[in-house]
């Protein structure tokens, strides 16, 4: 019985590890940055992730962009002091990546934004997160969940392998 329980427990652990491993990839970031605090005062996603509408990646704001506000706003906070440290040393901030597509996948934000999709469709309600977390596994099945259900005549159906695996 005991062994059976242990085995079951380990299976559960493995499942959690495999399934959520990529989802919960978020680790402590080098700066205690809060998405929630920034979004709740009304800053739009695209204010910082400016490239999402015109590039394959959404982009992480440059240190200069952060300093554009934080040279004047909330300058006393511990996290902002850490930011100022990076700025003064001329160093980039080594953020831990939260969402990722492997190199063998061609993915671009631009067309997804172009058809009017919202950020939260894929990235979840970041407004409620301190640290950004991956809310989906972003694997091929997940992509096809949307694309396969597009109308057959629509260009967005994109079920040819070579669309993403060029």
């Amino acid at each position: 019985m005991i062994f059976g329980g242990i085995i079951l427990g380990i299976f559960v652990l493995i499942w959690v590890n495999i399934d959520l491993g990529s989802v919960e990839a978020s680790e402590r970031q080098p700066i205690e940055y809060s998405h929630r605090a920034h979004i709740q005062i009304g800053i739009q996603c695209l204010f910082c992730h400016t490239e999402a509408t015109r590039s394959s990646i959404a982009g992480i704001p440059s240190v200069e962009k952060c300093m554009g506000c934080h040279a004047y706003i909330a300058t006393e906070g511990e996290a902002v002091q850490a930011l100022v440290g990076y700025w003064e040393r001329g160093e980039p901030i080594p953020w831990n990546r939260v969402n990722n597509q492997p190199d063998f996948v061609y993915f671009s934000h631009q067309p997804h934004m172009g058809v009017g999709m919202n950020c939260e469709t894929c990235h979840g309600n970041v407004a409620e997160m301190e640290d950004a977390k991956a809310v989906t596994r972003m694997d091929m099945g997940w992509c096809l969940d949307c694309h396969e259900h597009q109308e057959p005549h629509k260009i967005a159906r994109l079920v040819d392998c070579l669309i993403c695996h060029k």
Binding site: I10, I14, I18, G21, A25, E51, N100
Partner: protein, 741 residues
């Protein structure tokens, strides 16, 4: 089969296996950890995640093609040809594509170093640049400038200009330059022959695209010869009938190169007899009055006065009937073209062969004609001069002599690897030991850098500025620009800038003639003169706009094609003479001619540090990653060797070991060995792999051109009884492979 397992044991084992599987899963997830580093100060013209393209110049071989480098997030990702550049017109070869690996090479030096354990110790101590420069200035200040020597090689034209001016202002002897690929291309002979025949040292260019019949003497222009990308493209036009029909192509070469394999007819010529065959063809044409009536004058016909076809047929082992048939093909076409290549130039009669071959172009009325021979255009502006052809082997031997006699106290080496690229018999290593202070500017520790005291690594060519006047050029005057496509990855310094810093420190006249604070200001200043040219392709209104266009398009060239026609001045002093080839090594003891050749992947060996090129199979033998020796099946049978057997190749000057490739596409009296391997250093992909055929070659040259006679050494082959399976895609004999019947 049954296993006696109790329930308890089964559960133990199952638990253990599951636990180990769970443990193994942890690293899988940890591998997904990834760091994103946004820029501190983002450049305004770069869109993160999107490709930004920069036009620049390839420096992987002396051809100088125009390139477009795609960069994403400040990292170079892909190199392609520049479609606007008139030499390569958007195409690029494998070596050009592999330039990215030169940039990202793990063995690149990351800062200035001195060899603390003495030369050859390979013990390097990092130096601050200030200290390294101070050390060099101190060494230069303490000696008479005539005791300084600068050995250059594959250096960009702006560096040639700056370093030449620097040496002249110091009162030092002029720059001496050597590059193995240029030697294998026969550039020195071509340039000296052009000087003698056409009164200009500009390299001839051959209008292959518009020719009807091409006879190529050892010019493997689809492999590596001179400007292979440009000529390959022209060859496509030649085959697709630009001149009115599918062109006819005959290749004379002892080995079936991939150029010869693309020919309609391959004539495996006896080594060194290219000039003899050309003379015989010329004699037949003038004697029989072949071709168009009045195509050649009596004066031109007299050039072949002393030629005896029967003797030359015997010497070249091409039958008279065959020569007559070839002469008829050549003379009957409206636009036939004869091209002298690298292998005839690498013989002791190379200069005479070139004259004979150009003599054929003369009587066929192909000089300065469409589908014929033109000269490369010089730089369109004096402030951006193109570097002349490399110095000959004789001039390198003169430098070695100076070093041996203790006349050189400081030796500077940029873009050349003489320890690897010169025949061991030339004695460069012994000579360099007599030079008290040697400085290398190599970005990778190559064989020559190991023999230096101080290494001041230059940037990769994708990190720095420059310009290049392509030679051989294209169909119009042009100069290509080189610009950094990424920030320098390491604490390296551009040698051009370094020379300007040295000049400023030295002060006086030296500083006066090199007044620019850095090479960028020099280039902006020197290229600015083109802004007002009426031939300019850009519609720009200010000097600033010109500078932008210069970088955006990758250089400057005229809107329309503009060929330079050679003046036929130097042919008629005396009739053309047949000079029999001669070889080093007695034919009884050394029965085979050695044909060392430059392959499409590694070329002259300067690209051997790039693994993409190591992995690229040779187009004819499909071999890679090693040195092999190509032997005719008949010869292999007589020696008693087969594929994959290791043999010793022995010349009077040295020996190497290599793996046999039995190759039907080679004369029985010739063996071929590719250049490229046999490095002792040059990064871990190149080091201690294969053999360098330079160890076999005699240090002899053609007396008329001074060019190294790299094809004039005889060898013998001895089996060792050992085997080594060569990395090959397939066996040429088809052994072990099913054949479709």
């Amino acid at each position: 089969m049954s296993i006696d397992l109790s329930r308890r044991e089964f559960l133990k084992l199952a638990t253990l296996s599951v636990a180990s599987t769970a443990g193994a899963c942890v690293p899988i997830n940890s591998r997904t950890k990834d760091i994103l580093e946004p820029q501190v100060l983002p450049p305004e013209d770069i869109l993160p995640g999107d490709t930004t393209y920069y036009a620049s110049t390839c420096r992987q071989c002396p051809a100088g093609c125009g390139i477009i480098v795609g960069t994403i997030n400040g990292r170079a990702k892909k190199i392609e040809g520049n479609p606007a550049y008139p030499i390569n017109r958007g195409k690029l070869c494998a070596r050009g594509q592999a330039g990215l690996q030169d940039l990202y090479h793990p063995d690149r030096l990351r800062n200035a170093v001195k060899q603390s354990g003495g030369r050859g110790s390979r013990k390097f101590e990092a130096l601050y640049w200030e200290d390294a420069i101070a050390l060099l200035i101190q060494k230069l200040a303490g000696i008479d400038p005539v005791r300084v020597a600068f050995l250059g090689g594959k250096m960009p034209d702006h560096l040639y200009f700056l370093s030449s001016r620097w040496l002249e202002a110091m009162g030092a002897p002029p720059l001496v330059r050597f590059n193995l690929q240029s030697t294998l291309d026969g550039r020195i002979t071509a340039s000296k022959a052009a000087q003698s025949l056409f009164g200009s040292r500009q390299l001839p260019i051959y209008d292959i695209a518009n020719a009807e019949v091409i006879f190529s003497f050892g010019a493997n222009f689809l492999d590596t010869w001179q400007s292979p990308v440009a000529y390959s493209q022209q060859f496509g036009e030649f085959r697709q009938g630009q001149a009115g029909g599918r062109g006819f192509f005959v290749q004379f070469e002892p080995r079936l190169s991939s150029t010869a394999a693309s020919a309609d007819e391959w004539v495996p010529l006896r080594p060194g007899t290219d000039g003899l065959v050309a003379l015989a063809l010329g004699r037949i044409i003038v004697e029989k009055g072949l071709g168009h009536v009045g195509a050649f004058s009596q004066e031109e016909a007299d050039l072949f006065r002393d030629v005896h076809v029967g003797e030359l047929a015997e010497a070249s082992q091409v039958q008279v009937e065959k020569l007559e048939q070839l002469a008829l093909i050549l003379a009957s076409a409206d636009r036939s073209l004869v091209i002298p290549g690298g292998y005839p130039a690498g013989q002791k009669n190379g200069f005479a062969s070139y004259k004979a071959i150009q003599g054929l172009n003369l009587i066929l009325r192909r000089i300065g004609q469409r589908g014929g021979v033109y000269l490369s255009q010089p730089s369109p502006i004096d402030t951006l001069p193109g570097a002349p052809a490399m110095d000959s082997f004789m001039e390198i031997m003169a430098l070695i002599e100076r070093m041996n006699s203790g006349e050189v106290e400081v030796l500077l080496i940029h873009g050349a690897n003489p320890v690897y690229e010169l025949p061991s018999a030339a004695g460069f290593v012994e000579a360099v030991n007599r030079v008290p202070f040697v400085v290398s500017f190599s970005s990778i520790v190559d064989e020559t850098a190991v023999q230096s005291d101080l290494i001041l690594p230059d940037h990769s060519y994708l990190e720095t500025w420059g310009y290049q006047v392509a030679s051989p050029g294209g169909d119009r005057p042009s100069v290509s620009s080189q610009q950094p496509v990424v920030q320098p990855l390491y604490d390296t310094r551009s040698t051009g800038n370094l020379i300007l810093v040295l000049a400023e420190e030295q002060g006086g006249e030296v500083a006066e003639v090199l007044p620019w604070a850095n090479e960028l200001l020099f280039l902006e200043d020197a290229s600015g003169g083109l802004f007002l040219s009426s031939l300019s392709p850009y519609n720009v209104k200010t000097a600033g706009d010109f500078w932008s266009a210069w970088r955006q398009y990758g250089g400057w060239w005229t809107r329309r094609e503009l060929y330079q026609e050679p003046d036929v001045t130097g042919f008629f002093d005396q009739p053309l003479k047949a000079i029999e080839p001669s070889f080093e090594g007695e034919s009884e003891e050394y029965p085979y001619h050695l044909y060392p050749y430059s392959g499409v992947a590694l070329g002259d060996g300067s690209c051997a540090h790039l693994p993409w090129l190591q992995e690229l199979p040779d187009p004819m033998t499909t071999a890679c990653w090693q040195t092999w020796v190509e032997i005719n099946p008949q010869t292999a049978h007589s020696i008693g060797v087969k594929d994959n057997e290791i043999v010793k190749v022995i010349s009077p000057y040295g020996e190497i070991t290599a793996v046999v490739v039995v190759y039907p596409g080679i004369r029985p009296d010739v063996i071929a060995v590719p250049f490229g391997q046999g490095h002792t250093d040059s990064g871990h992909y190149a080091a201690n792999r294969g053999a360098n055929p330079m160890q076999l070659l005699a240090a002899v040259s053609d007396e008329d051109s001074g060019e190294l006679a790299w094809g004039a050494t005889r060898v013998r082959v001895e089996p060792t009884g050992e085997t080594h399976e060569l990395a090959r895609l397939e066996s040429l004999e088809g052994e072990g492979r099913e054949t479709i019947r």
